[in-house]
C-alpha cells in the first residue's frame, strides 16, 4: 500500500488520542492506586456501618492496606457483616481492632485497623471480633444534650434547699440553672 502524508498525520492523531487516554487513566484517574495485589479476606460484624460503602479504603496507621469487599445484613442478629480484602503482604494479629472512621469532618467513611498484640495472625475467612461502630452524629448530639440536661437538673435540685442563701438577680438565676425572664437556659 502506498504511504501518504495523510497516513502519517492520522497516525499522529490516533497516537495523541491514545496518549491522552493513557494520561487520563494513569495520571488523572485512579487506575494505578486502586490496584492491590493478592489479597485475603476477613469479616467483621458491626452494629452500624453508617455510610460505609463497598470499595471504601481499609487503612492501618493511615496507610491503605485493603478495601471493603461487600456489606451484607445479617437477619439473625441484626448486624452488618462487612467483608474486607487485605493485601497479602500485611498480616494482622487476631485481636486486631476494626473501627469505622470518617475522613475529616464530613468526608467518606473508612475502616481503620488497629493491630493488637496476639501472636497468631488473621487468615483468610477469619472474623475480627473487636469492632467499633460508625459514629452517628445525631446520636452523639442527642446524648450530649441529654447528659447536659440531667446535669443542670441535679444542680438545680441541690440548689433549692437553701433558697435564702442565694441572691435573686437574673444573672445568678441563670448560673443556677433556674428559669429567668429570659427563658430557660439552653443546657
Amino acid at each position: 500500500m502506498d504511504r501518504t502524508t495523510i497516513d502519517l498525520w492520522v497516525g499522529i492523531f490516533v497516537a495523541l488520542g491514545f496518549a491522552a487516554l493513557l494520561g487520563l487513566a494513569m495520571k488523572v484517574g485512579n487506575l494505578t492506586s486502586s490496584k492491590i495485589g493478592a489479597t485475603y479476606s476477613v469479616t467483621a460484624a458491626f452494629e452500624n456501618v453508617g455510610s460505609l460503602k463497598p470499595n471504601a479504603p481499609v487503612k492501618s496507621a493511615g496507610v491503605l492496606v485493603g478495601r471493603v469487599d461487600s456489606i451484607v445484613f445479617n437477619g439473625k442478629n441484626y448486624q452488618a457483616v462487612v467483608s474486607i480484602k487485605i493485601d497479602k503482604r500485611y498480616a494482622f494479629p487476631t485481636d486486631t481492632f476494626a473501627n469505622i472512621y470518617t475522613a475529616g469532618l464530613l468526608g467518606e467513611q473508612y475502616i481503620g485497623l488497629e493491630a493488637g498484640g496476639d501472636e497468631e495472625v488473621l487468615k483468610n475467612g477469619d472474623k475480627i471480633a473487636k469492632t467499633q461502630d460508625a459514629i452517628v452524629l445525631e446520636k452523639m448530639i442527642s446524648q450530649f444534650l441529654f447528659s447536659k440536661a440531667s446535669e443542670t437538673e441535679t444542680k438545680s435540685v441541690t440548689n433549692t434547699p437553701v433558697p435564702n442563701a442565694v441572691d435573686n438577680t437574673p444573672a445568678a438565676n441563670a448560673k443556677a440553672g433556674k428559669s429567668t425572664e429570659l427563658g430557660d437556659p439552653p443546657f
Binding site: 495523510i6 492523531f13 488520542g17 496518549a19 491522552a20 487516554l21 488523572v28 484517574g29 485512579n30 487506575l31
Partner: protein, 267 residues
Amino acid sequence: MQYNLLNSIANKLRGIGHRMIERTWRLGVGARLFGLAIVYSGESFKRFNLTLREIYFTGVMSLLIIVVSAFFVGMVLALQGYNTLQKYGSSEAIGVLVALALVRELGPVVTALLFAGRAGTAITAEIGLMKATEQLSAMEMMAVNPIARVVAPRFWAGVISMPILATIFSMVGILGGYLVAVPIIGVDDGAFWSQMQANVDVRLDIVNGLIKSLVFGVACTMIALFEGFDAPPTAEGVSRATTRTVVISSLTVLALDFVLTSFMMVV
C-alpha cells in the same frame, strides 16, 4: 369576514401540521440514511484509505481548535474554581474540580460543539455541493453507490475522531488547569494530582465521558451528513443546510448530554 377568520386559523393549523409532517419525514429519511451508512460501511472499510482521508479532514484538521480552546477552558476553570474554593480553604481541590468538570462534561460537550462547527459544516457543505453539481447522480450513473463511497467513510471518520478529540480536549484542559493552579496560583503540586487521582474514577468518569463523546460523534456526523444529503441543490439551499447543521447538532448534543448523564447517574 367570519369565513376569512376561520380560514386564516385553518391555514395556521395546516401550517403547523405541514411542518410536523415535514419534520417527521426528515427524521425518517435521516434514520434510513443512518441505517444505509451502517449497512454499506463494510464496503468503506474495505477501502480504508477513504476513511483515513476523512479522519484527516475531520479529526486532524480539528486538532488545533480543540487544543487551543481546551487549554483556555482548563485555565479559566482553574481560575474560577480557585476563586470560590479558597473561600472554604480547600484550594487543593482545584485539581478535582478541573478534572471532573472536563472529563465528565466539558470535554465531550465542548468538543462536540466545536466539531459541529468545524467539521460538521464542512461535511454538509461538501455533500450539498456535490449534490448541487450533480456529482452524486454521476456516481450513481457509474454504478458507484454514493452512500458507500461518500457517506459511510465520513460517518466512520466522525465516529472515530470524536472520542479521540474529546480525550485530547480533557487532557489538554487539565494541563491548562495545572499551569494556572500550580505555577501561577501556587497550589501544591502533589496535592493537585493526588486529590485528582483520589476522586476521579476510571470507570465512572473517564469511560462514561468516552461513551458520551462516542454518542455525540454519531449524532453530529449523522446530522451533518443528512443535512448535506437533504439540502436543496441550490446555493441558498446549501447555505441553509449548513446553518441547520450547527443549530440542530448543538441542540441535539446538549439534549443528549442531559439524557446520557441521567442514565449514567442511575447506574
